[in-house]
Symmetry: C2
Subunit: 212 residues, 2 copies
Amino acid sequence: MKLFTYFRSSAAYRVRIALALKGIEHEKIYVHLRKAEHRAPEYVALNPQRLVPTLIDGPNVLTQSMAIIEYLEETRPEPALLPADPAARALVRSVADTIACDIHPLNNLRVLTYLKDDLRIGEERRNAWYRHWVEEGFGAVEHLLAKQPGRGPFCFGDQPSLADVALIPQIYNARRFDVDLSPYPTILRVEEACADLPAFAESAPEAQEDAG
Amino acid sequence: MKLFTYFRSSAAYRVRIALALKGIEHEKIYVHLRKAEHRAPEYVALNPQRLVPTLIDGPNVLTQSMAIIEYLEETRPEPALLPADPAARALVRSVADTIACDIHPLNNLRVLTYLKDDLRIGEERRNAWYRHWVEEGFGAVEHLLAKQPGRGPFCFGDQPSLADVALIPQIYNARRFDVDLSPYPTILRVEEACADLPAFAESAPEAQEDAG
């Protein structure tokens, strides 16, 4: 298995965590976004969206982080990142999608670049934009997590799930942009629980060979 | 089952199509976004993100359109919206996520409102923003669909899938914003195939009771 990754891509970071939690051996291939390596023809042939990550598993070329993680869950089911009950699965996915659909896409590099270069939005207002979407999403996530009855250290229970896999990279991004996280005590407790697991630590941007 | 919907929400539109394709009886409850009904406390208690759709199935309150559709697929598997093979499922999901994660969230009402009110971006540049993200995503989707060997009338094969469920509402939105669709002949062929199915026609914004 080969993962095309960039240390600071939070979509790639999600897949790194999922691969590590499941203990799946793989080779990492680094695609430097700031050097526009994602626009090289050989990469675009694999990923026509010119985004990271891309995962290659035998003959299969997979794109889109959430689709990749669902694939890993279906082909390497242990340890499970989704519970067995459909309603519980939907709840975990809804937290993950709140991040993957409603926070992250508004704040990734291509969008910030468009705000800067095409709309001439200055740094201060770009940062306010960034924080706004994190706060909108984290408010909802905090509410959903805090109201779980008898909740464990992770988003849902005693084991990390797809929700934690999506949440941790988003917390990392939020810190980079100085989002005040004090209104989200449950999210902060989840962050602490994940920090204790090697799968999360070794997947972090600063632990990547291409970090810098 | 109860669906909280707004005629023009393309996330709600996706769920309407999925419910119709699977023939699931349900009651529709209309949440008027322009009248800020999604901010009413009773609705926020169901959906802390203050977004539509929300689906209620017995004791289960479900949010996030893609998580809802996965739930429907798991609890009412026929007709299937995802193929059986994991790699094929990942491909269908990746097209759906290209739309649900990388086009739609950049162009929904709350984002356009932020561009207008907070960033003071005029209509012409807001429309250019809108078209830009549709074109970025549709270029990749067109490429992925066109290269399928022996492709049928729908995104993948002879039956509609999650990819069609996500694509049709996005085409509707693209037309509203005058996106030139001529560079996407495969997408246009899929649109024609779906238009022939009652499940898509009856789920369209203009067919909703709250349209206007």
